[in-house]
């Protein structure tokens, strides 16, 4: 994938202190095009799609709403808590502003827990962006697939 001038501009927005204190790239020194390309390849290797992963994230987020901010069981394997914090955050790709809502999902079988935001769901769905390595809110596609129980779409 070629790094376009638009991607340069988006990547600059992702630096620490621009949109958020920690930024979206962590310690990752790769160009945005390479980050997107590598994660896209990882998702394909898993037999999944960005849309399928985002759909599962949204499904668990919606199920977690019934806990009214406390943990709620989402059978068969998950416990979910929705934690809203003050404020909104714009997407670094300049296509939306999102409430700062964290969805905390624990897989009771494996004991593994991950956190994702409403902005994460959007960036995966619309841009295939999972954040750079070392970014506090990066969720590796393989980790998302395992913890959330994302399955390849049937034939």
């Amino acid at each position: 994938m070629k790094q376009t001038p638009e991607m340069d501009s988006v990547q600059a927005e992702m630096a620490p202190g621009r949109i958020s204190a920690a930024g979206f790239l962590g310690a990752d020194q790769r160009r945005l095009a390479d980050i997107l390309s590598d994660d896209d390849a990882a998702v394909r290797r898993l037999g999944l799609t960005h849309q399928g992963i985002a759909d599962r994230m949204r499904e668990l987020r919606e199920a977690g709403k019934s806990g009214l901010g406390e943990e709620v069981d989402v059978p068969p394997d998950h416990v979910v808590r929705i934690a809203g914090v003050r404020g909104k955050i714009p997407c670094p790709f300049h296509d939306g502003v999102f409430e700062k809502v964290n969805t905390i999902v624990r897989n009771v079988k494996s004991g593994r827990e991950i956190v994702f935001t409403d902005l994460s769901v959007h960036m995966i769905e619309a841009h295939g962006f999972y954040e750079g390595r070392g970014s506090p809110f990066r969720n590796d596609p393989a980790v998302l697939a395992e913890v959330l129980g994302v399955r390849p779409a049937g034939p």
Binding site: P16, G17, R18, I19, S20, A21, A22, K65, S66, G67, L68, G69, E70, E71, V72, D73, I82, A83, G84, V85, R86, G87, K88, I89, P90, V97, E99, K100, V101, N102, I104, E113, V115, P136, F137
Partner: protein, 366 residues
């Protein structure tokens, strides 16, 4: 050949020098706005070098406008009315209503001070100050909520109203290269002016909550500023319903401590929602307040009690319990604190049960 090469190099160097000179000249003149005056509420003047954001300019002069995002335009809290302040930027529009745009409201972090300005802010913000505080104690209230007691060092006392909040400054550490601020309600009795208590729930990856839960130590000195907010108990004398969950306990606890100390006789019911027994806290304190204030009832509920919880109290979501027990609420008023989901559900329920919306007060974590 060599002569031509040297000439080319000489020309390139000369062009670079001219361009550098132009950039330095522009920096010193075009970007130099000189000393600017910001007139606050018509009578107070702040003088500062122009070119910085209005939020930073005011902060450096001891005027603290609430901001939870460090001036990135992403929290929408730092609203001020700027007289003749120009059109809002695109970054501000998601936060401003049509009436606010018409009335000259801007986000202070997005307004660059380039000349003299006149602004209007709520009078109470003029009494907000920055405090150096020392961590006196850190206690586990639950597995993910800590109570942090902060002794005020300089200034040594704060006057606040029960229900108000402060902003806690997280210093630069591994999750942030620069200090950031987060808002937390004060949970202690306002009569205790030399210290305040906060109840902080861990949010995985949260910059401030991770700092407080994993790094903050007793004896450490940090900065806070405040107090802010108008979430306060009215003096109407009406019966009160409090509803909270998790660290939403904080401002309600502050209100109850004050009510108990002052011998308040208002009827009050406090519905507190938790998932299981391990998420329930301060039961002893609530029972003590019940003894001191006979008109008060604490009604905790567990949404999903564990097998070993031995729970004989209310079960279900806090909304279920309010629905079952609150009776006629049409003449009461309500104070809610917790997650936006809980607040929204409770507001809907109370309205359905006949409580006028203007008697429902809340502090939403959003």
């Amino acid at each position: 050949m060599l002569g031509a090469f040297l000439l080319a190099v000489g020309v390139a160097v000369a062009i670079n020098l001219v361009l550098t000179g132009l950039i330095l000249f522009a920096g010193a003149t075009v970007g130099d706005y000189g000393e600017c005056t910001v007139r606050v509420n018509g009578d107070r003047e702040v003088k500062a070098a122009g070119g910085r954001s209005l939020l930073s300019t005011l902060k450096d002069s001891g005027i603290f406008i609430p901001s939870a995002c460090g001036g990135r335009g992403s929290c929408g809290l730092c609203k001020v009315r700027v007289e003749g302040g120009g059109e809002p930027l695109a970054t501000e529009l998601p936060w401003l209503s049509k009436d606010e745009v018409k009335g000259g409201v801007r986000l202070a972090c997005q307004v660059k001070v380039k000349g003299d300005l006149a602004i209007r802010i709520p009078e109470e913000l003029l009494s907000v100050a920055q405090y150096e505080v020392e961590v006196a104690s850190i206690a586990d209230l639950t597995h993910d909520i800590k109570e942090v007691r902060l002794k005020l060092i300089e200034p040594g006392a704060m006057t606040f109203k029960a229900g108000q909040y402060v902003q806690f400054e997280v210093p630069a550490y591994k999750l942030t290269d620069e200090p950031v601020y987060r808002a937390y309600s004060i949970s202690s009795d306002p009569v205790d002016r030399g210290a305040i208590e906060l109840e902080i729930r861990y949010v995985p990856n949260g910059i401030c909550t991770t700092y407080v839960h994993r790094h903050l130590k007793v004896g450490e000195r940090v900065n806070i500023n405040g107090p802010y907010g108008d979430f306060r108990l009215s003096d109407t004398g009406r019966d009160v319903i409090f509803i909270a969950g998790g660290s939403g306990m904080a401002p309600i606890k502050s209100m109850l401590l004050e009510m108990a100390r002052t011998g308040c006789r208002r009827n009050a019911e406090y519905y507190f929602g938790a998932r299981s027994r391990e998420d329930l806290f301060l039961e002893d304190l609530m029972q003590r307040i019940e003894r001191e204030m006979p008109s008060f009832r604490f009604i905790p509920s567990l949404a999903a009690p564990e097998g070993g919880d031995e729970w004989s109290g209310e079960t279900g979501l806090v909304t279920d319990v309010v629905g079952r027990r609150a009776g006629d609420v049409s003449e009461k008023e309500a104070y809610l604190c917790g997650s936006p989901l809980m607040i929204d559900a409770c507001v809907e329920l109370l309205k359905k049960k006949g409580m006028p919306e203007d008697r429902i007060f809340y502090d939403k974590f959003s």
